[in-house]
Symmetry: C2
Subunit: 264 residues, 2 copies
């Protein structure tokens, strides 16, 4: 079988988008990556600030945003406008030929509005389909797509979608064409064995240890959705998944996820 | 010489972006255009409303916006985020494979910050270069780029740029590869001989008649920058320029510009 070309997908979140200096370092590391690459960014804190400035109170349930119509307008502006174009223009200045996209652009990511259950999440999107052939074409003409956390339903409705999930779903879909390396980057050096100790990075985390840590409560609650997404990607054939700070992009460091056995 | 393929560039402005119904009709006409096509949109009124909601007073001089740092953030959000993704998601729903871009995306449009003269326009961009080869590639893979009125300087700075000018500069640059038809669409049926009479559309306007009308003051002042851009495009080899309402896209109607002689 012909070897697949390498593709790196980097999700950036946490404080990396909030600090000009951290963002600059992150984008430098991203620019230095060899081969095809894509970036996915959140922007939650900035959206909160703009909501506040506009007199819209952010509504959260279990750490997830409730996206009412007014909030959808703000996140579309902040994620697809302000944050996305900031990242793209800075990557262009570094010599990386970035193209900023939402899931509506080039029909990249189709989603549906999350059905109302115990909680009504409003205009939150759950992903149905990643347009992998289209993304492959954009990568092949030398572009580096930069995705914000907005998708669409194909009927004209934009939807707010978790950026960690977008990165995982893209990584899964693109394994058809690429050997995909997925990085979740934030300000910490990796998954911590002790959330209070920044030095306690778990270098390798397998699914068994993750489930144990989850039950024992030793893995920080905020990490759980990210790790669930990450292991799902690994199970679906993504070549590698790392969680760490921007420097981990250069070293493939941080926490390296493994399916069921720890490897050296 | 091999005949160049046809490309239609449509600038939409005026009230077309402010009314859901007018926008829907406009995008239907755009979707029905055969061959390669691109759209450029403004969004001035919406930006004013968001500025007001945020307590930022819009500053205008001679009908042009002064873009201070706070306003640049708002126009980036509104043009590249809200308006651009609204247009793209609606085009996708109509079956048009639209991709929303700013001038920073794929390094499409390079500009410089307008030098401070009698007026300091702030973060206003004057265009230096349209990346025609890159746009040609995007068109060739079947995408319809949808541009908002934001450019960049290649050094990480985003700039607010007149949408009429963007459309004209793109049309000029793409004449190297395409037979370019440029449409300026707004809510009126064309350039009016009598601004008070909606039926007084001038079917064909040549440069001589335009200069006369400009001196005599019979052409509405708001039309002048648009017509200056339009004639510059025609002079630079753009195949045709029309000014009219969305229906003119289907009929090549409205006001048809001509260089120096009226043709039947």
């Amino acid at each position: 079988m012909k070897q697949k070309p390498k593709l790196t997908i980097v999700k950036i979140g946490g404080k990396l988008l909030e600090s000009e200096q951290l963002l600059a370092v992150t984008l430098q590391h991203f620019t230095h990556l060899q081969g095809a690459k894509m970036l996915v960014h959140g922007g939650g804190k900035a959206a909160d600030q703009w909501c506040t400035a506009l007199g819209i109170s952010p509504i959260m349930k279990d750490g997830r945003r409730i996206t009412d119509a007014a909030t959808l307008e703000v996140v579309t502006m902040v994620y697809a406008g302000l944050e996305n174009k900031k990242v793209v223009s800075q990557l262009q200045a570094l010599g990386c030929d970035a193209i900023g996209l939402s899931g509506a652009d080039a029909n990249s990511i189709l989603a549906h509005k999350r059905p109302v259950g115990v909680i009504d999440f409003g205009f939150a999107g759950d992903i149905d389909f990643v347009n992998a052939p289209r993304l492959k074409t954009l990568l092949e003409i030398g572009l580096s797509p930069v995705f914000c956390a907005i998708t669409h339903d194909g009927q004209g409705l934009l939807l707010n979608t978790n950026a960690d999930t977008i990165a995982a779903e893209m990584a899964k879909a693109l394994t058809e064409y690429f050997e995909v390396r997925l990085f979740y980057c934030f300000e910490k050096a990796g998954v911590l064995a002790d959330p209070a100790d920044e030095q306690s990075v778990i270098p390798q985390l397998d699914q068994f240890a993750y489930q144990s840590g989850k039950k024992a409560g030793t893995i920080a609650a905020g990490m759980l959705p990210k790790l669930d997404n990450a292991f799902a990607a690994l199970n679906a054939g993504v070549y590698s998944v790392n969680i760490g700070n921007p420097a981990s992009l250069a070293t493939a460091g941080g926490t390296n996820l493994a399916l069921n056995t720890r490897t050296a």
